[in-house]
């Protein structure tokens, strides 16, 4: 057991830090840190910067354009990005669909899509959930019928994050109603830029529209966009879930948000002194900081297991549960921290190009929407209750 960074790891971290210092503009940093929304162009521009540095896909094998970093290096990279206020890399392409293509895709799919993912030429979205299929995903009903050299897809996907930006969707569809429900599902790559695909935004409790309904009516998908074999899509989707589980803990992001919480609490006044000097509030922050330390410690343990060749087991579900609870806990304390200025709702203030004076302190504008928005974290990606079902079955054998 060696619980401090090796000199190599320190050097690596410094290199990453140096890059980020010049690469992340003040404007982007300010927006990311205050929780303002980035435009599609801003996201893509950042990802292209990472691509040019060779760092867009740390999780990929080197032969496909990965970095060859150790699990620890990948972790340090993510953490430094979050601390520097770099925009998060949109996961759907690089982190989610790409590993599936590498493992199960045809050589054409790999040659065509993987370089486009690296260059952020495509924006992918995930077509899994349906109105009747949330936690019980295998009940999905969107149908794909083979019609000569293409499939005709009909159905509806929902909760589709950032589909408004996407030109590609990886999608689970039903190709058979025989046998077990899981055995009739296929994994298709869908071109969103065609008639028959309708994206309709869903307004969420924070006032934003980051998720969507996606209606699919006689959508044509060439057979070369079927991943792997027909009716094996469930296996591929499960493979994806087993990938890169430590990132879901969002240690770097929570670290950076806790710093922000401290900073805001040091300028918000309460009873004539900084809120940070209020014992009760300070101890609540300390409670979250200890949560973060424990989360980080378990992440490091899982990374060590990975380095030793043991893949992340179902225990990684704990990282999802604890990580999301911590993220939510921080947004909750931020909400408390700004007091009365949790009230004003001025969504334009969070958009690019708004130049008016803020109402109240600038740091307060996005805080309440953020608190509301982050309730999603314990619901998406397999709700925290589903994660507990997984652990109960796979670890405890119940």
């Amino acid at each position: 057991m060696e619980l401090v960074l090796t000199p190599d790891e320190q050097a690596f971290r410094d290199e990453v830090r140096g890059f980020l210092e010049s690469a992340v503009s003040d404007e982007i940093r300010r927006k990311t840190m205050t929780g303002y929304r980035l435009s599609r162009e801003e996201h893509v521009a950042w990802q292209k910067q990472l691509y040019e540095r060779g760092w867009i896909a740390p999780g990929w094998p080197v032969e496909y354009g990965g970095t060859g970093w150790t699990p620890m290096q990948k972790h340090l990279f993510e953490e430094e990005c979050a601390l520097a206020g770099a925009p998060p890399v949109i996961a759907f392409g690089v982190v989610m669909v790409a590993p599936v293509l590498m493992a199960f895709g045809s050589s054409w799919q790999k040659e065509y899509y993987l370089p486009r993912i690296l260059r952020s030429d495509d924006w992918w979205c995930q077509g899994y959930s349906e109105p009747g299929s949330g936690s019980d995903l295998a009940s999905l009903q969107t149908r794909a019928e083979l019609n000569g050299d293409h499939y005709l897809v009909n159905g509806q996907k929902t909760w589709t994050s950032l589909a408004q930006h996407a030109n590609r969707m990886f999608c689970l569809v039903r190709t058979s109603s025989e046998g077990k429900r899981q055995e009739g599902i296929s994994f298709l790559l869908i071109d969103m830029d065609q008639p028959g695909v309708t994206v309709r935004p869903i307004r969420t409790i924070d006032g934003s529209t980051e998720i969507n309904d996606v209606f699919l009516e006689d959508v044509r998908v060439p057979v070369h966009d079927l991943v792997g074999e027909e009716n094996r899509g469930w296996t591929y989707a499960k493979y994806l879930l087993g990938h890169e589980r430590t990132g879901i803990a969002a240690v770097g992001r929570s670290k950076s948000q806790l710093r922000r919480l401290r900073q805001i609490s040091s300028v918000e006044m309460s009873d004539g002194r900084p809120l940070l000097e209020d014992e009760r509030f300070r101890e609540k922050i300390a409670g979250l900081e200890i949560d973060l330390l424990a989360l980080e410690a378990l992440v490091l343990r899982v990374l060590s297991d990975e380095t030793a060749g043991k893949g992340p087991g179902p225990e990684a579900s704990f990282l999802k549960i604890r990580g999301t609870r911590l993220q939510q806990g921080i947004t909750e304390l931020l909400f408390e921290a700004v007091g009365n200025y949790a009230h004003p709702y001025i969504p334009e203030a969070m958009q690019t190009g708004w130049n008016e004076d803020p109402v109240g302190p600038e740091h307060a504008a996005a805080i309440a929407p953020h608190y509301f928005n982050w309730r999603k974290a314990s619901i998406y990606g397999g709700s925290n209750e589903i994660q507990k079902n997984i652990i109960a079955k796979a670890v405890l054998g119940l």
């Binding site: 057991m1 620890m72 424990a294 378990l298 604890r322």
Partner: protein, 377 residues
Amino acid sequence: MSFTFTEDQRLLAESADRFVENEYDFSARREAMALDGGFSRETWNTFAELGWLALPLPGDCDGLGGSTVDVAVLLESLGRGLVVEPYQSAIVLGAGCVTTAGSTEQRRRILPAVAAGEHLLALAHVEPRSRYALAHVETAASRDGSGWRLEGAKAVVHNAETADTLVVSARSAGATTDRDGITLFLVDRDAAGVSLRSYPTVDGLQASEVTLDGVTVGDEAVLGEVEDGLSAIEAVVDRACVLLCAEAAGAMDAAVRLTTAYLKERRQFGVPIGSFQSLQHRAVDMLGAQQFARALMYRAAGVIDGADPLERARAASAAKVEAGRAGRLVGQEAVQLHGGMGMTDEMAIGHYFKRLSTIDAQFGNTDHHVRRFAALA
């Protein structure tokens, strides 16, 4: 950075687990508790033979020079068996003080006998009114000719009755809660003026209220520098906190296993109660709490050797908070999920609950350490 056990640590864990499994089942523990002094000398000798007593002691005193992580590995395993032998009081606290504060002569005289299992130490620091404030020392040390005279009372001194030597803290200068002015003394348990009121503790261990009534000791009994005892106490107690967390990690692991087994075996409404989702999720919460507390404990153990006092204190307090929160959840839920059986003295599970509860109440509970951690930011 690596969280993986070294080969030596893996072997140590294996051998301690094997010991608990083969030689320290619940009835063996009961038998040891019923012996004079509340533990088995025979077991203690086995610990000595296995090198466990020597593990954290310095190499020039017949010790093995093990790190805090090494000791944590051992104590995690011993925690699984709720071992009642006085490892925390004699080795972690008592020998810890001698190692940290003692002169070369004192270390060489005392520690080899400790490693051999022939000499037992106990730390008499906490007082009836000190609660968790380590600087609060009312026991007085005054000059008496060329030596010292000690007056005062020490509270809940674990394993004092069986100790050969007590490490006693006393105030030789300053006001009751001053950081400066505390001096450590080595006091024979049999010395004139030392009286003990001994009792069992709720978790099956032994402790005493110690009264010091005009105890006289020579200058050679001073451990470390006069009036500078607190820094040693703090270093030893921070390490002890982490090692209590190690014991808690093992106890929680056992409690989760026992509870899971019970959920599979106990049938109601015609099915194992473990098929009920509400109980499954609670068992998962227990396991999660244990995993995070264990990971943070090892992180703390790995950084405190050689850390500056601030970093050491933050690491120890964070680990203690996490273990306190987790221990309460695991202990209470373990009893609840056992239903009425969890309330019986006969079942092991309640004893895990009790030990996890007392660990939180030693050297600062969860609230105390949250406050300390917050103040150190």
